[in-house]
Symmetry: C2
Subunit: 514 residues, 2 copies
Amino acid sequence: MSTEPAELTELRQRARELSDLTGIGGLLLWDQNTMMPAGGAGARADQFEALERIQHARLADPGLGRVLDALEPWEASEDSDSDDVRLVRALRRDHRKAAQVPTELAAEISSAAAYAQQAWLEAREAHGFGHFAPALERVLELQSRYIACFDGTGEFAHPYDILLDDYEPGLTTEELQGIFTRLQSELVPLVSAAAAAGEDGQVFPGHFPVEHQRGMAGELLPAVGFESDYWRLDASVHPFARSMAATDVRLTTRWEEDDLAMAFYSSLHEFGHGLYEAQFEPHHYRTTLAEAAGLGTHESQSRLWENLVGRSRPFCEWVLPLLRRHLGGPFEAQDAAALYRAVNQVRLSLIRIEADETTYNLHIALRFELELAMVEGRLSVAELPDAWAEATHRLLGLEVPSVMEGVLQDIHWGAGMIGYFPTYTIGNLMAAQFWRALAGDVPDIDALIGAGDFAPLREWLREHVHRHGRKFDSRELLHRATGEELSVEPWLAYLEGKLLDAGLLTAPVRVPRS
Amino acid sequence: MSTEPAELTELRQRARELSDLTGIGGLLLWDQNTMMPAGGAGARADQFEALERIQHARLADPGLGRVLDALEPWEASEDSDSDDVRLVRALRRDHRKAAQVPTELAAEISSAAAYAQQAWLEAREAHGFGHFAPALERVLELQSRYIACFDGTGEFAHPYDILLDDYEPGLTTEELQGIFTRLQSELVPLVSAAAAAGEDGQVFPGHFPVEHQRGMAGELLPAVGFESDYWRLDASVHPFARSMAATDVRLTTRWEEDDLAMAFYSSLHEFGHGLYEAQFEPHHYRTTLAEAAGLGTHESQSRLWENLVGRSRPFCEWVLPLLRRHLGGPFEAQDAAALYRAVNQVRLSLIRIEADETTYNLHIALRFELELAMVEGRLSVAELPDAWAEATHRLLGLEVPSVMEGVLQDIHWGAGMIGYFPTYTIGNLMAAQFWRALAGDVPDIDALIGAGDFAPLREWLREHVHRHGRKFDSRELLHRATGEELSVEPWLAYLEGKLLDAGLLTAPVRVPRS
């Protein structure tokens, strides 16, 4: 092994700073949503803008480009799977994208997003879309200027691909259109058969005091792998996870006394996100590789813990005594089979974050369809509420009584995150694919979960998914872990199998395809 | 009024970024001491270092120097009291100091301080100085390299002046030596007379559950001016205040069930710090003027609320019913005169942050003496514990049973803050001077406090002290507000007057001097 080139040493130094700045940005965001007094919103937007300006300028810096160029000959002589080569490639990708975009535009996007989030909150309080519309228009206008920065690079076949690529590198509009077409055609008959078979009503009927729910989460999370020296759990309007480092992981949840499912499943969901970042390879710390492969992979980890673990039969068997200990009442009379059936019930509903596992992807299909139409210029902001209502009727068969249950339910577009929603569906699909591989390697996984022993599961995920961080993109990671390309079939097969097992379907509906 | 020079516009842009970065640094620090899981310490040190590197490089930037130089002719033609001229001067000062110091050294100082704070915590847990000593030696070595950066500038008469100047611009070693000599000679007879007259024992004897103390603070702080949309109160080992902006002010306190005085007085103390930053002139936001004049002024505001308000007779009268409501028990039998006497009792003790108002400055005299000896090279880190014990015996007449009650009690030196302690005494002196001016302008101040009407007090402070921020340095601010230079006499006169009024001195001890 020869001495490393001086440029590689310099690159590491630059990566360290970028990584530290990302950690700082994570804290700003976490604090904004958990601790910040309301009056701090304006100053926080300014701080985000200042940070974005620095990060963007550092990433777009022509000096970084020269270092990356100088490393090309060295790179050609190295193992293309080495950490160093992958670090160079990840930074090259980030540099090339940033260099296309003026820092001023990046800062404007950041500040418009902060402003639109505030407008979204105010619009929700006033139950009116009109207050949010101008801020969303500004976000869209800036997004189209962002897209225009990539004119002539020849890298992207569709303008929406440019946005997608920021969240899930390499994912295309064409691929997504195929996935959603297939999902819609398969899910509609499945949903109608399962919804007809199930009971109506809440997953966990009853009133559960916040203190009891906290006690429940305080036993549940450590049992799955939350370590209090390295993690914390707080409350926020929208549950999320953010880590400042693998040793500083922050989860949030929402305590609703009349909706226990919110805290229960969001805790598991966010734990999945947190565990991913907690299990990055330690020697990738302060490099560009200590990041997620893509948001699809990230979401695969949260959905895996929420659904493939948290809504499985053995998990229901294991968790029932824990629920009885902390929440008593309704759980005393219920057996594990009834719990399993309740948490997998299919109920068409208006709110994405309250949707069951089966109908969830239809909510994403709706958002993908609308945001694509906006990016293509076929749908204006003014037309959005009606288009939302029409698509809800078409895909879910439901009427939208107000914008609160319609277009104002999600913060994403206001936060400038267009092209983000599809990664939720990608995550669902990947989770099922990872699970199939995992079940092959750990054949007694059900028995382990039933016994509350989650260590082998965490270890499989660490080895095959988490530790790599951003060394491989989602596609390559999936292929290395499962030998497969991204596919709809494993998720559909898993889902139908579970609905049958839980007695929520009386007979198979689908004809399996590969 | 002509159009402003282009350089001034550029300067404002630079000031905005520097100010945003300071806000971000404030959040990192607040979080580190309140919310961060223990495992996050290493990453936080890295983030501090990255931020320091950026801030320092921005401040030392020769481009900033050129802009400042170009503004000199414009400046000469402007009103020297205008905000713009003062902004230019504040930035020029910061730039000149930063430009003397290599960014690498600034980053090393930041990282050594983070490491030494960790070593200090570990040394406290192990009750041993040995674990902390090497980290402190490193801090001192870096400080002496920092001091050497100013060799040949001819600006400072003494190496310790260079450190002082970072906390209280313009304050000198010579001046401090005069102040502490005078204070020691006046305080020693005062303390021995008052300590002989008072009872022994705790200020608030009794056991007070944290929940009751929270209830107390939850009524006390809003009554003095804490607004929940803009402020928050949390717990930390060392109480402190930090604002991210005038509209986002964070206070901390410490809840000790057997020491109510800790939460009660630290809440008032930190409120004083917070109110200063909450009342900066709104149009100074995102400029270098939205900072404190100096740490002496900052401390004058906290000590003013803690002592001149919080330990006054009318405050005791007003607050007693509040204490009874929340804490009942011992306060039921006590009358306001007894409370007034209890909170002003003089008791020689080992721990600075638990010291009474009268002996407090002796604790600072001790620290000033020792840190000056270290900077002058007359005292080594290895000799520090013994030197601490000797000085404690000489100044306070007490034996130091362990390093926990001695040199390991304060975090400051470990955090690289050498030259910081004297600002506590300067704050005490300034508070008494401000109070005299205030009492002249608001003759019914005692009656207002007795009635719980703190608005006129806040307004006087806003008008004469807070709103100016860093527009004037502490010396100029004091002169503008009071017509006086910094002086020991008003504080000594105030103190003796109160001890006599409370019956803690039976006859005057001092011969007043001007």
